[in-house]
């Protein structure tokens, strides 16, 4: 009898067994909140007057992408080797990591990147606009003039820079001492600016008529001639021999003159120039005394500079104001009035008044005045009270109808007199000029607003050139927004420095190099506030596997077909690079 076939087909058709995936179930429909990637602004980049994309620089550094990190700086600042050495780093004061353990040594990393690029002779590839027909004249090849020319070149304009001295650099060449900024580092960055298409004409001192003569040859003139004169002390005896302008002394130093110096010397003033003069004098073998009318903490000089000076043996005499200078044989006697602190102003700066009739005498061989700086010539000064002038954060624009636009920048107009503010003013001037030439003067202020970093005042050229930074939210990430679960306490790098004895006898650079290892480790301490550094927490912790890796800008995207809007990704993002918003029904 033939065997019947197996009965499976008949009574095993419906059977509790699952064989399809759940992907048919689009759980995205459950959502009432929706996460998305939203890069925001790191406080350091908002604090940086040049608006450098610092958090991004640190991310690239951790990935060993030094060239890309360096280029990221160059988009906003052509002087990383300089600023990494001499900037007062307001970025580090605002660094969120500072509230956790210690602020990131941003300037050390910046310098490391610039030095590495220099050592390996890297050539940057930066975005630029197509060439334009307009030409711009720049007066002064200091940080503001060179920056303005550099940014204008990126915007497509031909620039001619006129420099009175024999070499470009301005205060970087003729002011800041070698132990802070070696010549080679400066020369490399100037050369890079020239590579960008900027022409520099040295030993060209311009006269007052230059602005009028510029019509027809140039469409705009940028006045970046800086401050090369110290203010007068305003006391009897200040024109005696041996009483000198501190800034002029520094310039002589940089020319190789003034290698012999008597001892002791007094330096009047409390700014960076005063400290530079004192520390230089010390290295020439003199005993240097800084005489300042307020207290140490009120000195406008960078606190790090003051500390270094005192370490090296510079003496500081506080609460003294010069009254009179007298000659006594080879010596100069500096008569000073004693002051006392009667209160503090809103910023904590001491308010001083004469302390009765108390006076003192300081016997020195030379006196350097380093107070109240100003431009060489009065015609270089920006005009006051011109109603058509557009006053921006760090520069002043004078649209003059059919005549070339005149822009004043750098120390002439900057809110804070520093290298990075000079760079900021050059950038601001370049962007403002570009807007003015294309859309007219009335458009300038409102147009610039779009490119302010974190709500301003710094500007981003990368954003102006429509780079990815343009998409960032201006919200500045605050410390409470960082998820500290993902960070362990770690010491800040300690910058190696020359020993004090060595520092006293040489103009060699005080701060020494750090290795790539150390730079990377320091960059890893950075929270990368507001920026995605591809840590993958969002991808990892999603209960619905709704974060997919792809080749897009963030290297991942949210699969909204399945995302239930639980928000875990947003909370576990250590650096607030995501946002959670209401789902629109």
């Amino acid at each position: 009898m033939p065997r019947k076939k197996a009965v499976t087909a008949e009574s095993l058709r419906f059977f509790p067994r699952s064989y399809l995936s759940t992907e048919a179930n689009k759980t995205g429909s459950w959502r009432f909140l929706k996460p998305r990637y939203e890069e925001k602004t790191a406080p350091c980049s908002a604090a940086c007057p040049a608006g450098e994309d610092i958090a991004r620089v640190e991310i690239l550094t951790t990935q060993g992408m030094f060239k890309e990190a360096w280029e990221t700086i160059l988009r906003e600042n052509p002087f990383p080797a300089v600023c990494g050495r001499v900037c007062y780093h307001p970025c580090e004061s605002r660094c969120n990591r500072g509230e956790f353990d210690e602020a990131i040594a941003i300037h050390s990393i910046e310098r490391f990147l610039a030095d590495t690029a220099g050592r390996n002779e890297m050539k940057p590839s930066l975005e630029r606009l197509t060439s334009k027909k307009q030409k711009i004249a720049v007066v002064g090849a200091g940080p503001s003039g060179l920056s303005a020319a550099y940014f204008l070149a990126l915007l497509g304009y031909g620039c001619d820079v006129f420099e009175a001295s024999e070499e470009p650099g301005g205060i970087l060449r003729w002011g800041i001492p070698l132990y802070r900024l070696p010549l080679a580092a400066l020369r490399k960055e100037v050369a890079q600016i020239q590579d960008a298409g900027v022409r520099i004409f040295t030993e060209k001192t311009l006269s007052k008529g230059f602005i009028d003569e510029a019509k027809g040859r140039y469409d705009a003139v940028f006045m970046g001639s800086g401050h090369y004169r110290s203010g007068d002390m305003g006391v009897p005896g200040e024109d005696l021999e041996g009483v000198e302008d501190g800034l002029k002394f520094l310039q002589k130093m940089r020319r190789g003159d003034g290698l012999k110096l008597e001892s002791p010397v007094a330096v009047i003033g409390g700014g960076n120039s005063a400290v530079d003069v004192a520390r230089s004098a010390l290295r020439l073998g003199s005993r240097a005394i800084i005489v300042y009318r307020r207290r140490r903490q009120d000195m406008p000089a960078f606190p790090g500079e003051v500390a270094s000076a005192l370490e090296e043996g510079v003496e500081l005499m506080e609460l003294l104001a010069p009254a009179k200078v007298e000659q006594d044989g080879k010596d100069l006697v500096l008569h000073v009035r004693r002051l006392k602190v009667t209160g503090e102003d809103g910023k904590g700066r001491g308010i001083v008044a004469p302390d009765g009739k108390k006076t003192d005498k300081i016997r020195v061989r030379r006196i350097f005045s380093a107070i109240g700086e100003g431009p060489e010539d009065p015609w270089l000064e920006p005009p006051q009270g011109d109603k058509t002038a557009i006053a921006l954060e760090n520069c002043l624009l004078l649209p003059r109808g059919k005549n070339p636009v005149v822009i004043y920048g750098g120390d002439l107009t900057a809110s804070i007199k520093s290298v990075v503010n000079a760079v900021a003013s050059g950038k601001e001037a370049a962007m403002a000029l570009d807007i003015l030439l294309r859309e007219g003067p009335k458009a300038v202020e409102s147009a610039l607003r779009k490119f302010r970093v974190g709500g301003g005042p710094s500007l981003s050229m990368e954003a102006y050139l429509k780079g990815p930074r343009a998409e960032r939210s201006p919200h500045v990430v605050a410390y409470p927004e960082i998820n500290k679960d993902y960070f362990e306490l770690a010491r800040r790098l300690s910058q190696p420095r020359l020993l004090i004895e060595e520092r006293r006898r040489t103009f060699e650079e005080v701060e020494l190099r750090v290795s790539a290892n150390i730079a990377i480790r320091e960059a890893e301490r950075c929270f990368h506030c507001g920026l995605c550094d591809q840590c993958d927490n969002c991808y990892l912790f999603c209960p619905d596997l709704a974060v997919l890796r792809d080749d897009g800008i963030h290297k991942r995207r949210i699969n909204y077909d399945y995302c239930k809007g639980c928000g875990v990704c947003v909370v576990e993002c250590p650096r607030n690079a995501m946002a959670l918003e209401e789902e629109k029904v």
Binding site: V7, L12, P16, Y19
Partner: protein
């Protein structure tokens, strides 16, 4: 070859011959000899199988569900309380369509502790989707266990081979133990129709909503129907190889009987003798041995009983609040026939009490005397309890 074996040993021999791969059992009197025997086989290499010494009957069935889902032939045995503990998973095994075979030694349920024969335990599980076969002697037990595997794997339903406590499990009888080669022809290696497989992953037993569950349950019903339909074919093949068959039921002297006694288990053996005696006295009586309870052989039963005037069901079990369970099944099978015998229900031998020839004869005469049953269930052989004793 012929051996003298206890019912327990007969089960063990059949399990050995069937090439079972995983055995998982928890001891309970009077099933213990089965598991001890199998344990010995696994330990001394007589069987190439894993013996899982689980910590309860519930876990025994659970382990087999795991093993059977992974594609291997399985076996367990239990009794009374153990079967009751397994209840949840008996439903699971059939719902999962797993061809598990279990020897179930009918034992009374507690309280009071009673290790002797009573069919209430297995009959209380008649709704669980297991095929149930009731055996009368050791030979039948061995043969039925082998047939059980064949049937189970044919229709993907689990099978319970039921045997009486002590009267069958612990009684020695001559048994012809078949040769392995012949058994292999009847029962080749197990080829599962589905199994957990990392190369073809799927999920067994997921959440099923009302929109699909009913069809799955209907398929179980269809499988039971298929089992009934294919049952003779399985027996045919067994008979061809081993010369024995038992049928879903065995009618003895029923063709011209006025009264048919309906029995199951070892009571059948006693009843055969009683019926022989009664026939000698001229009574037109027969005995119908019920073997297959699930699926219930309605058509065949109707055919066998239709000619009789009365059928007397002897139940060694009871469904409280209703009646003896075989009686219920018989009544249900007959009620739609326009003409059918009256069904007299008797309850006897509960908790291992002896069902003697005299008692069976009394059942016959009671049935003979009354036109219709006096009650739905008549309990036989109860002791008289005096009022004084009751008041204690």
């Amino acid at each position: 070859m012929k051996k003298v074996l206890e019912g327990s040993q007969a089960v063990a021999e059949a399990v050995r011959l069937a090439g079972v791969g995983v055995i998982s059992a928890y001891p309970i009197t009077p099933q213990t000899h089965i598991v001890e025997e199998l344990s010995r086989y696994c330990a001394d290499g007589t069987m190439n199988a894993k013996f899982l010494r689980v910590e309860s009957e519930h876990s025994a069935m659970a382990a087999l569900i795991g093993s059977a889902s992974s594609g291997i032939r399985t076996f367990t045995a239990t009794s009374g309380q153990g079967l009751a503990l397994m209840h949840e998973l008996l439903h699971w095994a059939s719902g999962a369509r797993l061809p598990i075979v279990m020897a179930e030694v009918n034992r009374a349920l507690a309280p009071g502790w009673n290790i002797w024969v009573d069919q209430t335990d297995s009959l209380a599980q008649r709704d669980t989707g297991w095929i149930q076969l009731y055996c009368e002697n050791s030979q039948e037990t061995l043969d039925t266990t082998l047939m059980a595997y064949r049937l189970a794997e044919l229709v993907n339903l689990p099978v319970m081979v039921v045997l009486d406590a002590f009267f069958l499990s612990h009684t020695y009888e001559p048994v012809d133990v078949p040769d392995q080669k012949k058994v292999d022809r009847f029962l080749p290696s197990y080829v599962p129709k589905f199994q957990a497989d990392t190369k073809n992953p799927c999920a067994f037993g997921p959440l099923v909503a009302p929109d699909n569950y009913m069809e799955m349950r209907y398929d179980i019903a269809r499988a039971m129907d298929d089992a009934l339909e294919r049952f003779p074919e399985v027996e045919d093949e067994y008979a061809r190889l081993f010369g024995r068959r038992y049928g879903a039921m065995e009618p003895v002297m029923c063709r011209d009987a006025d009264i048919i006694l309906l029995t199951s288990g070892t009571v059948t053996s006693t009843t055969r003798l009683v019926v022989k005696d009664l026939r000698k006295k001229g009574e037109k009586v027969g005995v119908l041995k019920m073997r297959l309870l699930r699926p219930f052989p309605v058509v065949e039963l109707r055919e066998v009983l239709k000619g009789a005037k009365k059928v007397a069901v002897i139940d060694r079990n009871f469904s409280f609040g209703a009646s003896g369970i075989f009686a219920q099944e018989v009544r249900a099978a007959l009620c739609n026939l326009p003409k059918h015998p009256a069904v007299f229900g008797y309850v006897a031998g509960i908790g291992g009490r002896d069902v003697t020839p005299a008692l069976i004869e009394e059942v016959y005469w009671k049935t003979r005397k009354n036109k219709l049953p006096e009650k739905e269930s008549v309990w036989m052989g109860l002791k008289e309890v005096s009022d004084a004793a009751r008041r204690q």
